[in-house]
């Protein structure tokens, strides 16, 4: 069997369909996008090359991209930490053989199945209802309301998903290791710190990677929950790119340039994070 794959003829036959699909759906649009970021255009057919001026605009407009970037970083830092910690705690609780474990796992996972737009509108109603009752204002009143709104929404949506990954990791910890630790007199905290955590390091890598890239790419939740209100102070990167591209006449090229920068940022951050956590994994 092995030999068949090694023959170039077969190799081509087996990989070609995927390769073609990949080229059509990813490589070509990416290169076109890269080219368009150096152009002024309304529709793709009418693009005119303008050099780096789009990129200059991106970095000189402090109210747009840079503000959105800072806000996104703030969301990402808090969002990644809270979702991962809470998901891990849930995973620990739901691997202890408690009654109704499967039921709870299903319940916690379910929010993840609902689309971000719908979630955004539902949470907007909920949060507005609470805020109006308690403070007498709504989500658009202060940027910090929108900020915490997004964090709460994101936690609610993603915890279940990350929890499932952590549960799989924790279940892979060999029972005899934990038993041996128990016999040696280790407390639960010691077991957690010295056995479970190192053993689930690969899950942590995956989960932090997923939540980090997720936070940076967040769009629909942001659009539905705050749409940038108040005064674009809660606009995240993806929404800012969308607004620039579609809502600002003559700024499609700038939007495209923002998207290219965005891709590079997300790529770099994800790479650095993978490097760091996988180094820990190997230790």
């Amino acid at each position: 069997m092995n030999k068949i794959y090694k023959k170039p003829k077969y190799l081509a036959i087996f990989t070609l369909p995927t390769l073609i699909a990949y080229i059509i759906a990813f490589v070509v649009p990416f290169i076109m996008g890269l080219y368009l970021s150096f152009c002024k255009f309304k529709t793709i057919a009418s693009a005119q090359f303008v050099g780096f001026s789009n990129y200059m605009t991106v970095f000189t407009d402090t109210r747009g991209f840079i503000r959105a970037f800072i806000f996104t970083v703030k969301i990402a830092v808090v969002g990644v930490v809270t979702t991962n910690i809470i998901a891990f705690i849930f995973a620990l609780l739901l691997t202890r053989g408690l009654k109704g474990t499967n039921f709870y796992r299903t319940i916690f996972f379910m929010p993840n199945l609902i689309g971000g737009i719908i979630l955004g509108y539902i949470w907007q109603l909920l949060l507005n209802g609470i805020l109006i009752r308690l403070v007498g204002v709504d989500l658009t009143f202060k940027a910090s309301y929108g900020y915490w709104g997004i964090i709460i929404l994101y936690n609610w949506q993603k915890i279940g998903y990350l929890m499932i990954i952590y549960i799989a990791g924790i279940q892979n910890v060999p029972g005899d290791l934990i038993e041996a630790a128990k016999i040696d007199g280790a407390t639960y905290m010691q077991t957690l710190k010295s056995i479970i955590l190192p053993m689930v390091m690969s899950s942590i890598t995956i989960c932090t990677f997923l939540s980090l890239t997720d936070c940076f790419k967040m769009f629909d939740q942001n659009l539905a929950l705050t749409a940038g209100a108040p005064r674009n102070q809660t606009t995240m990167l993806a929404l800012d790119i969308f607004e620039t591209y579609y809502n600002r006449v003559g700024f499609a090229g700038v939007g495209q340039a923002k998207a290219v920068i965005f891709t590079i940022i997300v790529f770099l951050i994800a790479m650095i994070q993978l490097r760091i956590t996988s180094r820990k994994e190997n230790n």
Binding site: K42, I44, A45, T140, F141, G228, R231, N232, Y246
Partner: protein, 448 residues
Amino acid sequence: MKKSFISITLAAAMAATLATGAMTVSASDYTGTIRWLNYKPEVSDQMKEVAAAYTEETGINVEIETAASGTYEQTLTARMDSSDAPVIFVVDSVNMLNTWKDYISDLSGTELYSYCSDDAYTLNDGNGYIYGISYALEGWGIIVNKAITDAYFASPNKSTEYTSLDELYTFDALKAVVEDMTALKDELGIQGVFGSTSLKAGDDWRFQTHLMNQPLYWEWGGNENIDLNGKVPDFTFQYNQEYKNILDLYLNNSVTEPALVGTKTVDDSMAEFALGQCAMIQNGDWAWNTIANTDGKAVKDEDVCFIPISCGVEGEEAMGLNVGASQYMCINSQASEEDQAAAADFLAWLFSSDTGKQLVAQKLQFVTPFTTMADAEYTNPLFASENYISSLGKTAYCWAANLIPDQTWKDEMGADLLAYAQGQMEWDELVETVVDVWAEEEAITNEG
């Protein structure tokens, strides 16, 4: 005599048959689809009825796609790049025309243009190239539920001397009446005089665009001095206090508290009006469809009328509603010749055939500039009210707001108005911000 009459009739009938025959022949050759990217969400269902009626009569497929409120240009951008780009689309201003010029074919040779009563209702280059023809002459002001104001005027408890809507053409009069009505709101059975000031992002156009018409009109020196086909003029917000006058009146005498207006949509506000929860609302004649189709509508058709917006500028008692042509139909020059021809035939049919005219007047409720539509009968009571106000000799404001540089400015203005309503922003800071943003966007728009 009689004989010749018969022969003329016969000849005419024959000519008509021939003409229709010719039309059907050319029509039946066409197998494509006429795509119309509709600008007006409030008539999206009615537009589909129009499409179905045309398909039934001619067998030609018409597809209507409607862009959500406030997203027309972004939808158009996306659709123009697709292989099934719209053949008929809408341009709402000179600024938008400049962006899309390369996609617009000349309508001067079309049948539709021959129906158009005046070039003022077209977008043109001054040399006979017709980019677009308006299909909707629209007016806006403050829509009033006369039943409630009449109840107020008849009330023994009122403390103003005003007794009719005809006296409310100055801001002082309007303010006095509105504030007194607020004091008597329980007696009048309303929750507020004005419907909610809908400042939710995307629903703020009544204020960041339409209400801006007043300060822009006065700052730029009125109908004689405003060139609607020209470049974006400078803007200092000279009449910001007057704008604030009317805005504060809306906010403080409303169904909804000022701090909560960020949750309100135009639909919410229109529902309040239709259900009789408020007496007045700033909107235009296009809102009639929404009012008429509200479940549980309490306001009677004959009670719906307009009064002009006044904000305290000297001379405004001589002014009427804001009236103008907006939304010009264009035919996509990048579409195939057959598609363009089919689209032109369809538009000619829509505004001149009996079925089409019926649909335009009764369903779409467009007041059009077409001579063929002169005998159309409308059901919208706001049109009658527009005629009444101009019969009083009041001058209509032109749509100065069409010269607002772009959506970015409007969004900034809307967001700032919300912050102001919530008490998060001082008025002076708002004025300074929007004037600065105007300067930036003006440069971008005029240069492009």
